[in-house]
Symmetry: C2
Subunit: 512 residues, 2 copies
C-alpha cells in the first residue's frame, strides 16, 4: 500500500506546486519579526491566526496557549497547539516549527523585497522562506494531501508552533515542561520531529543527531571606580584591561587548543563505528571556506581534511573569545584606562561534558592565572549560562523512519550529521518527555537563513513535503507499544521541571 | 616700584572680588559647548564677542581670525586675537586661553545648574569656571587694573583665545604656524604663557615644564569577511580575536612593564639634579588614590612612594590597552566569532623618544609575535597618530618670572611639575616661533575639569589675578634683547610649517 500511496502522493504534490508557492508567498508577506514586538507583534499574531485557520480547515483541533513569559506591559504571541488525532492507539508524532522570522529590509542588501516571495532560477527568495515558514507549513500540506486523497493519517499528529523562536523562544520551554505532565498535550507523544536546521551541503539530504552544548562566561576585572585618562594616570595604576587581556590569552591559543586544565577529560575518544559515519558524508572543505568567506582572507582552516574538520565542529569542544564590555570599542582613538572590563567567552561542549564541571575548571584556571599576575585588582568570573550537548542515535526508529522516507524521495541514504551550535528546545523536549527527537532538515546549506537573500529551493519545497509525508507512513510501520506508554521510570511533574536536568531516557530505558 | 605696585595692585584686586565673580558668572552663563556646534556655535560666538568687547573697552586692538578648518557647511568659531602693545621695544608675552567648555547637564549629577555660577564654601561651581574661563579672563582684569591704577603695562600683551579647545583645537595649529611668519601676529612674541592645566595638589602652586608625548596604534586581525557563529563554525577557523588577544598580551604585563624590545633605549636616566626637583614637591599618594577612586577598589598603585609614582606619570613611558573595535562589546551574551577586530593601544612618550622610532619598534615586535602564532590570518598595525613629548626648563627666565610672582603672592616657591598627558598646542607654539612656553596653572587639582561639579576656588580666582599681574612685571625686569629678535637661525615659512617638525630652539640657540 505504501508504494501505491507514495506514487499517488507524489503526483498529487507535483500538481500543486504553484499552490504551495502561492501559500508560502502569503505567509512570507506577513512580516512576523519577533525581535521587534512593538511593530510586529500584530504580524506574528496574524501569522499564527492564518496557520490556525488552515489547521481548522483541515479538520484539526487548535488551541492558542497563552505565553507564560508575557506580561500585561509586554504581551507575547501565544503558542499554537494543533492536533490531528484519529485513533488513540496509533503512535503520535509531535511536529515543531516556528512562524516568526528574523528582521529584514531591502536596504540591508536584498536583491528583492524580503517580504515579497520572489522566484529566480528555481529559488524562492523571501524572509522566512526556509526559516522556518516553508518547512513548518509543509506538515499542513501533508495532512491536506491525505484528506484530499482519502487516505487515513498513519499516525496521530500534534503540532507545536511558536512565534518567538528568533528571539530566544521565550515561554515555550515552560509550556513544553508543563504539557509533558500526565494527561497533558505532550504526554502521549511518541516521537518529536523538528525541521528547523539545514543540510550540510547543497544536494544531499541529512539527518541531524547531535548538537553541541555551551558554557558562556563573563570575566570581569576592575581597577577603580571610574574610567581614567591614560595620559594623566598611565603608569601609576594596575590597569584592568592589561589583566583581562593577560587572562584571556591563557584560555586558548591561536591553533584553537583550549588551555584550561582538565577540559578534555570527559571527551569520549572516537570509536571506529562513529568514525565510519563520517566516511560517506558529502562535504567539500573548499566550498565550506568559500561559503563562510574564509577563502579570500586566510584560505586556511584549523583542519583541512573533511573528517577532522567535521569532528572539530561537531564532537570536540571549542573556546571562542567574543569581545570585551566596558573597554573602548568605537572607531578612532580614545585614550582611556577603562575602570572595569568584562571579557566574554564561551565553550561549545560535547556529550559527557557537564557545563557545571566545565565552569568549575574554568574558575580554577582563571583564579590560578590571576594569582600569577600579582595584581591587586578585583577579578570575578561569572558563569553566565550553560546547556549540555545533545546526542541522539541515528539507529533510533524515529531516525530510520526519516531515512527510509528520504531514500524513497531522493533515491539515496541521508548523511548523519551533527551541528556545532545548540537548539535548546531539542533537549527540553527530550528531557521533559523522555521521547526521541529527530532533527529533519529540509533546506540546503546555502539557504542563508538569518542573512540577506534568504531563499528556499522550489525543489526542496516539493521534496520536503514528500519526505515529511512518507516519514509519517514509515513511523506508522513501527511495531510494538507506543513509546509514550512506557513507564519504566515514573516521573513527577516536579522531576520533569527541574531546569537543566538531563532526563534523556528517563521515560524510556527499555527498547521499543 | 614693583613692591609699591604690588601692594596697590593687591588692594585693588581684593576690593573687586564680587565684580570678578559676577563677570565669571556672566561668562559661565554662556553655554559655549564646542562638542555640540549645531546647538552651541552661536554661544561660542557670543562668548568670543563678549570677550572681544572687554578687550576693546580696555583699549586693546582685536581681530577675529576666520577658522581655517571651518567650511561653509560646518562653520567654526573664529580665533580671537587681541593686543595691548604700547611700545615695540618692550618684550611681548602671548597669553593663550580657550572660551569654549565641555558639555554639562544638571542631570549628569551636578548639585546645581552647571551654567549658573553658584558659590558654596568659597568654591564657585559652574562649567568653565576653572577650565578655562576663570584663568583666561583673568588676563583682562590684570590689564584693567593697570589702566585704572594708571600704571603702564610692563610688557606688550598679545592675546590668543580659541573656541574649539575641548574639541581638538581645530584650526588653531594652522593659525599659529601661519602667524609665526615674519611680520605676522606672533612673530615678535618673546614668551608664551598658557594657563589651562592644574596644580598637582590642592594648596601649593606649581609650574609645569614637561608633557608626555604619545604614539597611538590600531592593531587589526582579520580571519574572514563576515562575522561567524561560534557554535556552527567554532573549531574550524583561526579566530581573529584569539590572535589579537595573544598579541595584545605581549605588549605590557600586569606590573605595567612594556614588553616591546628597545622601547626604553632613549629614556634618559634620572640625574641627581632632576631627582632633586621631586624632593620638595607636595604630593600625597593616599589622596591621589582617593581622588581617582582607586582606593576603594584595589588600594594599591604600581608605585607607592611619591617620587617613583610621579616619575612613572611624568618621565617614563607607559603603554595602555584601551579596547577592541569589531568585537562584541554589549552587555549580555553573543556567540559571535568576529571577522575583524582592531585592538587600540597607545604609549605615552617622554623626551628623547621619537614617535616614529617607537612605531618602528612596535611594528617589529607585533610582526615577530604574530609570526610565532603561526596563524594564517591577516594582521596589520596602523600607527594612528603621534606627538613628541615636550620638555622645557624650569630655569628659563619665563619660568623664573612666574616663580617670583608666585613667591610674592603665596609666600612659597612653586613645585616644578610635569604632566602625563599631552597639550599639543604647547609644542606647536614652541616649534613655530622658537620661543619659550610656560604652563602656569591657576586652578587646584580637585577642580574637576571635564567632570561633574567643576569648580574654581574664590581664593584661586583672586590669587590667580595677582600672580598673572606680577608675572608681567617680572617679565618686564628681564634684561637683554627681545628673544624674538634673535635670528641666529633664519627660518622660512615653509620650514615653520612642516607638520610635526620639532623646531624647538631654531630661533634662539643663543642664550638670552
Amino acid at each position: 500500500m505504501s508504494d501505491e500511496f507514495s506514487k499517488r502522493f507524489f503526483d498529487y504534490v507535483d500538481e500543486r506546486k504553484n499552490l504551495y508557492i502561492d501559500r508560502l508567498a502569503e505567509a512570507v508577506a506577513i512580516p512576523s519579526v519577533s525581535s521587534d514586538l512593538e511593530n510586529h507583534l500584530v504580524d506574528i499574531n496574524t501569522m499564527i491566526a492564518w496557520t490556525k485557520g488552515h489547521i481548522e480547515r483541515l479538520g484539526g483541533l487548535t488551541e492558542l496557549v497563552t505565553n507564560p513569559a508575557g506580561t500585561e506591559n509586554r504581551p507575547l504571541p501565544p503558542i499554537l497547539c494543533g492536533s490531528f488525532v484519529s485513533n488513540p492507539h496509533k503512535k503520535t508524532v509531535c511536529v515543531y516549527g516556528h512562524l516568526d522570522v528574523q528582521p529584514a529590509a531591502k536596504d540591508d542588501g536584498w536583491d528583492s523585497n524580503p517580504f515579497i516571495l520572489t522566484e529566480r532560477d528555481g529559488k524562492l527568495y523571501g524572509r522566512g522562506s526556509t526559516d522556518d515558514k516553508g518547512p513548518a507549513l509543509s506538515w499542513l500540506w501533508v495532512v491536506e494531501a491525505h484528506r484530499e486523497l482519502g487516505v487515513e493519517l498513519p499516525v496521530n499528529i500534534k503540532i507545536l508552533y511558536e512565534g518567538m523562536e528568533e528571539s530566544g523562544s521565550e515561554g515555550i520551554f515552560e509550556i513544553i515542561q508543563r504539557e509533558s505532565a500526565p494527561g497533558k498535550f505532550l504526554n502521549d507523544v511518541d516521537f518529536f520531529c523538528i525541521s528547523d536546521n539545514y543540510w550540510l551541503g547543497k544536494n544531499k539530504p541529512c539527518l541531524t543527531y547531535g548538537l553541541r552544548g555551551i558554557a558562556y562566561f563573563q570575566l570581569s576585572v576592575r581597577c577603580c571606580e571610574q574610567d581614567l585618562h591614560s595620559g594623566v594616570l598611565g603608569g601609576t595604576v594596575y590597569e584592568a584591561m592589561t589583566d583581562l587581556i593577560q587572562l584571556m590569552a591563557t584560555l586558548v591559543d591561536s591553533s584553537g587548543r583550549i588551555l584550561v586544565d582538565g577540559i578534555m577529560d570527559d571527551v569520549k575518544p572516537v570509536t571506529s563505528k562513529e568514525e565510519a559515519l563520517y566516511n560517506s558524508i558529502e562535504f567539500d572543505v573548499e566550498e565550506y571556506k568559500e561559503e563562510n568567506k574564509i577563502k579570500s582572507v586566510s584560505d586556511k582552516l584549523l583542519h583541512n581534511d573533511k573528517k577532522s574538520l567535521l569532528m572539530a565542529r561537531w564532537r570536540y569542544p571549542t573556546l571562542s573569545l567574543h569581545g570585551i564590555e566596558g573597554a573602548f570599542s568605537g572607531s578612532g582613538a580614545k585614550t582611556v584606562i577603562p575602570s572595569r572590563v568584562i571579557g566574554k567567552f564561551s565553550l561549545r561542549l560535547v556529550p559527557d561534558q557537564d557545563p557545571e564541571k566545565i565552569a568549575r575548571l574554568v574558575k580554577t584556571h582563571v583564579e590560578q592565572e590571576f594569582a600569577k599576575l600579582g595584581s591587586p585588582n578585583r577579578m570575578e568570573l561569572e558563569y553566565f549560562h550553560g546547556a549540555k550537548a545533545w546526542l541522539s542515535s541515528p539507529n533510533h526508529p524515529n531516525y530510520q523512519a526519516a531515512a527510509a522516507a528520504i531514500k524513497t524521495v531522493y533515491g539515496m541514504e541521508p548523511d548523519y550529521t551533527r551541528e556545532g551550535g545548540s537548539i535548546p528546545i531539542t533537549s527540553t523536549m527530550e528531557d521533559s518527555t523522555g521521547m526521541n527527537v529527530l532533527l529533519l532538515p529540509i533546506g540546503a546549506c546555502d539557504d542563508m537563513a538569518h542573512s540577506q537573500n534568504e531563499k528556499y529551493n522550489v525543489k526542496n519545497l516539493m521534496n520536503g513535503i514528500k519526505v515529511l509525508g512518507l516519514y509519517l507512513h514509515e513511523l506508522g510501520k513501527i511495531k510494538g507499544p507506543k513509546p509514550s506508554d512506557c513507564r519504566c521510570v515514573p516521573l513527577t511533574l516536579e522531576e520533569l521541571s527541574i531546569p537543566g536536568a538531563f532526563m534523556k531516557g528517563f521515560r524510556c530505558k527499555c527498547e521499543i
